[in-house]
């Protein structure tokens, strides 16, 4: 699991690649800290390289969503593949996120 955070067009973008399973969840949460701590910026999770997500990973997405929305900003999921979209659909979280 690899996480890179960068800023483009005034948005914080986290590029995720690999498998976000329970074992990788803790380190990913740490890597995403800048996104959790940002204010006044929309947050983008680029999932182009994300192959798999476990419920622990979904939890991080959900926490990021709650934190960011509480500050009046948006969380946008980008390049989400079928597998991950499937998980989001199943859990009903899909309607909470915006997609690009």
């Amino acid at each position: 699991m690899k996480t890179t955070v960068l800023e483009t067009d005034g948005r914080l973008v986290a590029v995720l690649s690999g498998e976000l399973d329970t074992a990788a969840a803790a380190e990913t949460e740490v890597a995403l800290k800048p996104l959790f701590e940002s204010t006044g910026k929309d947050v983008v999770l680029d999932c182009a390289g994300l192959e798999y997500i476990a419920s622990s990973g979904i939890r991080i997405f959900l926490n990021l969503l709650k934190t960011t929305q509480a500050k009046g900003n948006r969380v946008i999921l980008k390049n989400v593949n079928e597998v991950i979209r499937d998980v989001l659909e199943l859990t009903g979280f899909i309607s909470y996120f915006e997609f690009e």
Binding site: A54, L90, Y96
Partner: protein, 593 residues
């Protein structure tokens, strides 16, 4: 390795005591080595002192003997010339001059003629030669004020009629000379004792020669006559007369303990200087021939052993350093051992607590197959770690089967704790309510309270009316259950979010009829997302295909799926909790068939 750790553990069980004993033993050993080394070096140094002293005494004796022998040789060489000159008294002046010139250490020479030997020269006649300011002066010195016949050496020569050496004596003033006289009787051609010759040998240099000691700065040498009279020694500034008198007495006192060593019979006496209270070694030997003078040397023990003293500090420092090192190693080893032991104990405790937690968790689950005439239910739960975050449950109340399956996000202890709370809450709620959506909604309300970490659980809750076969259910983000009839199909489920995600979420329930003989199969993603070593997932497709060809008996079914998944993952091993619940509902006619 385990055996080794066990040994460390046993060793450090009473580790404080063992450590102390080990340190003391090491200290003792180092001390012993230091003592041995000290003793060895000390003995070596004392032997060295003996060797040096023996060598010096030998050298000094040889120098003295050489001087004496050279003088004797000179005398014998001149014997003939003296004898010949006896015929003419005045020619004895020439003879005495030759005697003094024969040898540089000869300070003076005389020929004392026996009384009345030359009637023309009166009763006494003694030609005498001596050095005066580099010149040789020859005189006749006998007279009323110098009657040589009264001299002890002269009388002894008459008595013994043989040659001999006198003990050294001081002669003259400014400078005082130490002289010794070689007395030699001369017979004329008629065989009559005619004269007594004397050669005065200067021994003034002896005191200096005996006191050149490069080895030990305070050592000193001296020479005694056979009777113990001091005739050569260090200056008074260096050694007090009291010390000199004391050592001279020691040499002469045969009752004093002494060791006698070597061919030259060197005596050694250990004594304590009466002036400076220092211990010292007194070595001495007598000349191996007449006049039997005694050469001696004193060395102070402090100086002899000085090298071992400075070495002792080094040895002591080294021993201390060694001890410090050993203590460091032991302490370090003890700390590591203790840590190993403690972490082992901790590990064992955690493991045992986890085993208890697992048992509690297992006991919360329905234990036996629910097997009624119209119903069979079987659950299956295999946690990936000691405790898991999955749950299933079922029970019958008022002819209604309450059943559920759930999956807390994450694994291990945190997930298990959330699961335990959720499970007991769920049980309580199911006692009061019958509407699955309402139960899940209330559970969600509780779960969202103080849920800082955002932990959620997916849950499927169903309530099956066993009289009507009507199933009411609510799916909160869980894997859709599968309906196994002629085909395997997903139970349609609304996309409710998992429990604990959003406080204000409105859960919606659904209803369906359960056909007679149908099997409802519920599972967690531990089944569908089980991975093999190539990280390929077991998958829903494979699961459905497997189920279609599988037994319809719930207990056989769950175990068959469990085996299938285990076979699939192979060497990769179980990575997530695997949980299943299978139920088969039968109508009356089904039972009669």
């Amino acid at each position: 390795m385990a055996a080794f750790i066990d040994r460390i553990r046993i060793f450090f069980k009473e580790r404080k005591g063992s450590r102390l004993v080990l340190i003391l033993l090491t200290a003792l050993l180092l001390e012993l080595v230091a003592v041995l080394q000290y003793t060895y070096t000390r003995n070596l140094l004392i032997k060295e002192e003996e060797r040096i002293t023996r060598m010096e005494l030998t050298m000094e004796s040889d120098v003295i003997l050489n001087t004496l022998e050279e003088a004797e040789l000179s005398m014998r060489e001149n014997e003939w010339s003296v004898q010949k000159s006896l015929a003419h008294p005045d020619s004895l002046f020439g003879a005495v001059g030759r005697m003094i010139r024969s040898n540089p250490s000869v300070a003076g020479a005389c020929i004392a003629v026996l009384p009345d030997y030359y009637p023309e020269k009166g009763r006494l006649f003694e030609p005498y030669a001596h050095k005066e300011g580099g010149r040789i002066v020859v005189d006749q010195i006998a007279g009323p004020d110098h009657d040589y016949t009264l001299g002890p050496d002269f009388q002894r020569a008459l008595r013994e009629e043989t040659d001999f050496w006198s003990d050294p004596y001081a002669y003259g003033t400014d400078p005082v000379q130490q002289l010794t006289t070689y007395t030699y009787p001369i017979w004329d051609r008629s065989g009559r004792l005619a004269a007594i010759c004397g050669l005065d040998i200067d021994l003034t240099w002896l005191s200096d020669t005996l006191n050149v000691h490069p080895y030990y700065p305070s050592s000193f040498g001296f020479m005694l006559t056979r009777n113990g009279r001091l005739v050569a020694g260090p200056r008074e500034e260096r050694v007090s007369p009291q010390t000199m008198a004391y050592v001279a007495d020691l040499v002469m006192d045969p009752t004093v303990d002494r060791t006698i060593r070597g061919r030259h019979r060197v005596n050694c006496i250990e004594f304590r200087d009466p002036v400076n209270r220092e211990w010292a070694y007194l070595d001495f030997r007598a000349l191996p021939r007449s006049p039997g003078w005694i050469v001696a040397e004193v060395s102070y023990r402090d100086e002899v052993l000085a090298p071992v003293r400075s070495m002792m500090w080094r040895i002591l420092l080294m021993a201390l350093a060694g001890l410090a090192f050993v203590i460091f190693i032991i302490e370090r080893f003890a700390r590591v051992g203790k840590r190993l032991w403690e972490s082992d104990v901790k590990q064992a405790r955690i493991e045992s607590e986890l085993r208890i937690a697992r048992r509690i968790q297992e006991e919360m689950l329905p234990k036996s197959l629910l097997d009624r005439a119209d119903l069979a239910v079987q659950g299956f739960l295999a946690p990936a770690k000691e405790v898991g975050g999955d749950l299933f449950d079922y029970f019958v109340r008022d002819e209604k089967l309450f059943f559920c399956i759930g999956d807390v996000c994450g694994k291990g202890i945190p997930a298990a704790m959330v699961m335990a709370v959720a499970h007991s809450l769920l049980r309580q709620l199911c006692e009061q309510e019958e509407d699955p959506a309402c139960i899940v909604g209330k559970l969600n309300g509780e779960a969202c309270r103080n849920n800082e970490s955002g932990v959620f659980l997916t849950l499927f809750l169903g309530v099956l009316d066993l009289t009507s076969g009507r199933l009411r259910y609510c799916n909160a983000g869980h894997e859709h259950p599968l309906f196994i009839r002629d085909t395997v199909e997903e139970l349609p489920a609304l996309a409710n979010v998992p429990v604990g995600a959003f406080n204000d979420f409105e859960y919606r329930g659904q209803e369906t009829d359960v056909a007679p003989g149908a099997v409802l199969f519920l599972y967690t993603d531990g089944v569908s997302e089980a991975m093999d070593i190539n990280r390929q997932q077991y998958g829903r497709k494979r699961l459905r295909a497997f189920l279609s060809g599988c037994s319809r008996q719930p207990d056989a079914l769950v175990h068959a799926v469990g085996d299938s998944v285990r076979t699939f993952v192979g060497a990769a091993g179980q990575s997530d909790d695997i949980t299943m619940l299978a139920l088969r509902y039968r109508e009356e006619q089904d039972k009669n068939r």
